[in-house]
């Protein structure tokens, strides 16, 4: 450990302003502060500070993602060949998922560093989250070059062109996913993509329900062999990280207890989804659209709604940033998710677009909340 410190100390003068590698200061800062928490002291009041920092905060998100990731690896192997043993599932899943994560981190990380050096800003820890979230939203047999293309688009267009972390309008991991979704539809949609075994078609529960007209969606899902228990635990085909609701709930508990995610967004999303699904159920008899009859429980358990709501809608930067706005934003995402799933048969899975639309509306929601706040203050002033 002494060696690392003395190596970094020897390097430091060269990256300080005036040094020969001055441009690479952000890279040095990244490596240096990963190994050692900065020893800088406060220059102005307050003279003491909380131990919390961005690394700790973002790392907590990674911890929250771990149950979903581990289960995702296992389930990827399980879906490929349910007859194998536990070890085989883990090995098969790992062989498929880990390279995706590695590619996402490496390629995205390179872009991140390039922009940090060119734009002269520090490398933000937010990428730690983006880099792992993106592969977890993909089908497990995604070609690696598409993962690379996706994360490149997400980091560059989704984040860096608007000024980098903290200034992004959309969640960069979702921008990456939306890019591959529209650019390579063959790899992202349809039944075969959700399983590693190519010849085996594995329709996701949502795809099953939306495939037939004039049916009973709930019945279709259960007839396809998807019990509530399997969907809750996650033994169904789907994106890598999003199948197990149990793992998502574990992550949600971590995020809500640590207050990294705002519980209002999650609560709003659940309320929105349930309300919209109940309304859809009421309309169901009047229409041939099978999806209208999908019950709220099926909506909650099927697909990536839970994963998206807990890990992506709650991204503090792209979400609404006022407490009241967070409620509205959450409800909006829940409602939009059901609307997209039900009304647009081309997108069996609605959460990605719902969150992106939510991101787009977030600044406007905040704007109105802000105006209300200002109006309320004025009334309070006049009352005195």
């Amino acid at each position: 450990m002494k060696g690392i410190r003395s190596f970094l100390d020897r390097l430091e003068p060269h990256v300080m302003s005036g040094g020969k590698w001055e441009r690479y200061a952000p890279l040095y800062e990244m490596v240096d502060t990963i190994f050692y928490v900065p020893g800088t002291t406060t220059a102005v009041a307050p003279h003491i500070r909380d131990a919390v920092d961005m690394k700790r905060s973002m790392f907590t998100v990674i911890i929250a993602l771990l149950p979903a990731l581990f289960f995702g690896i296992y389930n990827t192997g399980y879906q490929a060949d349910p007859s194998g043993g536990f070890l085989q599932h883990v090995l098969t899943g790992g062989a498929a998922v880990l390279p995706m994560i590695l590619v996402s981190y490496t390629v995205g990380g390179l872009w991140e560093m390039l922009f940090a050096v060119v734009r002269r800003h520090d490398i933000n820890e937010g990428f730690l989250v983006t880099g792992i979230l993106f592969p977890m939203t993909l089908p497990p047999d995604m070609p690696l070059w598409m993962v690379a293309a996706g994360i490149s688009f997400g980091v560059v267009i989704g984040k860096e062109v608007t000024g980098g972390t903290g200034y992004n309008v959309f969640n960069p991991a979702l921008v990456a996913r939306a890019f591959v979704f529209f650019a390579y539809p063959a790899e992202m949609t349809g039944d075969p993509v959700w399983s590693l075994a190519g010849e085996l078609t594995a329709a996701t529960p949502l795809a099953v329900a939306s495939a037939v007209q004039d049916g009973d969606a709930g019945l279709l899902v259960s007839q396809a062999g998807y019990s509530f228990r399997d969907m809750f635990l996650g033994f169904v085909p789907g994106s890598v990280g999003g199948t197990s609701k149990l793992a998502v709930i574990a992550g949600a508990i971590v995020l809500v207890v640590t207050r990294i995610a705002n519980w209002r967004i999650i609560a709003g999303g659940l309320i929105g989804l349930i309300a919209a699904a109940v309304s859809a159920n009421m309309l169901a008899p009047a229409s041939g659209n099978t999806m209208l009859s999908l019950s709220p429980i099926n909506h909650l358990l099927a697909g990536g709604f839970a994963f998206g709501l807990v890990f992506m809608a709650t991204d503090p930067v792209s979400a609404a940033q006022t407490d009241r706005g967070r409620w509205i934003y959450g409800v909006l995402i829940g409602v939009l998710c059901v609307m997209i799933r039900v009304l647009n048969q081309a997108f069996a899975e609605g959460i990605m677009l719902a969150i992106l639309l939510g991101n787009a509306f977030a600044p406007m929601i905040d704007y109105f909340v802000l105006r209300r706040h200002i109006a309320r203050r004025r009334v309070a002033y006049e009352k005195q």
Partner: protein, 451 residues
């Protein structure tokens, strides 16, 4: 009596709490006046090196309000006037006489005050140099004598770390407290809001006359005047003026009128783990920190702060205690770098967040020093800042508008109600390590100049 309970905020658990034991700091050889303490006063010197001054003799006046004087806190010879860059007077050093001589001011008894005219009160306060104890919001500068405040605030419930307990101070000697309150009431012609905590029990506070009495309860910053003003008489715009006076300065105002001499005593706390002894000390205004701390060893590498750890000023032993400060804090200074510190469970890391193991132990076995514990990043609104600000404000948006220098939006979002001291905890908890209190200060200065 209703109690206003505030939930947001945080009481920092700091080791080295001062014991309730009053020690006399003794007689210093020299005193210092630091013009920069008086925000809003543009100093114009009235003395030169070698001049002799008495306690209460004018030393400088303000170019902005020529009636406002700063007077000597002791009698003696001016031995040094330190001039800094751009001819700014940094400090005025007085070498004290053996026997103190005083400027004489008019004396009144308790009864006489009730018939004093506001003009008379004002001129006595201005001439004695006690006027600057009255400060005004917005902008927290020395009150403009021509201003007409809508209210006056006195906080008897300081909540910042190590700040002196009001009951303890008043138990020592409460002479002049009621008189000071009555004088403020007559002077301003507006309500005087006296805010106590739920535990405040001294009768001069709880049974004070000529005041509107309030009780506030909650973690820091519930005792800050800024929070009281926000909940009782919020400041609407830059011309909506509120005055505020510290508890010990109310005593001084009363004593000036009772005794006809400028009172120069104050009781301060000495706190912090790096000090050998932590207790209350009786000192006089203008004393240097090294005199206040005489006979009190400072252990290890540490930082000396005039004021509390959240809002004070980093100081050298030769610096005088700030005019408005009533705390001397000494905390450990440390530049150690923890190997993978951000990955540690954090049993010993002080945090208000639920991200460290220490939370389960209520931060009991943590140590706290001057380290930042992280690198500066852009704003990521996790809600940490909001959780320690008991005001109906939207701090994240206000900060963005300050950075954007948008005066119109700053005003609408309530910049005039803000003071850096109320945002100190926001700087403390921010995961991006942004200097939020400094940003608020910059915003206020920008609005004051350009608004």
């Amino acid at each position: 009596m209703d109690v206003l309970r505030l939930k947001k905020g945080h009481d920092i658990v700091l080791a080295g709490q001062p014991e309730k034991r009053l020690v006399d700091a003794g007689k210093p050889a020299r005193l210092k006046i630091r013009p920069a303490d008086f925000r809003g006063i543009k100093p114009k010197l009235m003395v030169k090196e070698g001049d002799h001054v008495r306690t209460g003799s004018p030393v400088m006046y303000s170019k902005t309000f020529p009636d406002v004087y700063v007077t000597a806190p002791g009698s003696g010879r001016i031995i040094n006037i330190v001039i800094g860059e751009r001819r700014v007077v940094k400090e005025i050093v007085i070498d004290l006489d053996r026997a103190e001589t005083f400027e004489e001011f008019e004396r009144f008894d308790e009864q006489a005050v009730t018939s004093l005219s506001p003009e008379k009160i004002q001129s006595q306060l201005l001439r004695s140099g006690l006027w600057p104890v009255i400060r005004q919001r917005p902008f927290s500068s020395v009150a403009d004598p021509a201003s007409k405040p809508k209210a006056v605030f006195v906080s008897a419930t300081p909540t910042a770390p190590f700040t002196p307990d009001s009951d303890f101070i008043l138990d020592q000697d409460a002479t002049g407290f009621q008189m000071g309150l009555s004088i403020l009431k007559r002077l301003s012609g507006s309500p005087v809001h006296l805010v106590a905590g739920t535990k405040t029990s001294n009768q001069v506070v709880t049974e004070a006359k000529d005041v509107v009495f309030h009780r506030f309860n909650g973690p820091h910053p519930a005792g800050n005047v800024g929070i009281h003003i926000h909940h009782i008489a919020p400041i609407r715009n830059r011309d909506d003026i509120v005055w505020y006076v510290a508890l010990q300065d109310v005593l001084r105002i009363g004593r000036l009128f009772l005794r006809g001499k400028l009172p120069v005593e104050k009781i301060v706390t000495l706190g912090g783990e790096s000090l050998e002894k932590q207790h209350y000390a009786r000192i006089r205004h203008g004393m240097m920190l090294k005199d206040i701390l005489r006979g009190n060893r400072i252990g290890g590498e540490s930082r000396l702060i005039s004021g509390d750890v959240l809002t004070g000023r980093m100081s050298a032993p030769e610096d005088a205690l700030g005019f408005y400060h009533d705390t001397v804090s000494v905390i450990a200074q440390n530049t150690r770098r923890d190997f993978f510190g951000w990955l540690k469970p954090g049993r010993h890391s002080y945090s208000t967040t639920n991200l460290f193991l220490s939370k389960l132990f209520k931060n009991r076995s943590t140590t706290i020093d001057t380290r930042l514990h992280g690198s500066q990043r852009v704003i990521i609104p996790f809600g940490n800042i909001e959780s320690v600000l008991p005001m109906d404000l939207l701090p994240t948006f206000l900060i963005k508008m300050i950075i954007a220098r948008d005066i119109d939006e700053m005003e609408k979002l309530g910049i005039y109600e803000c003071d850096p001291e109320d945002f100190a905890l926001c700087s403390f908890v921010d995961a991006s390590k942004m200097e939020i209190a400094e940003i608020i200060r910059e915003g206020l200065e920008y609005v004051e100049k350009n608004g």
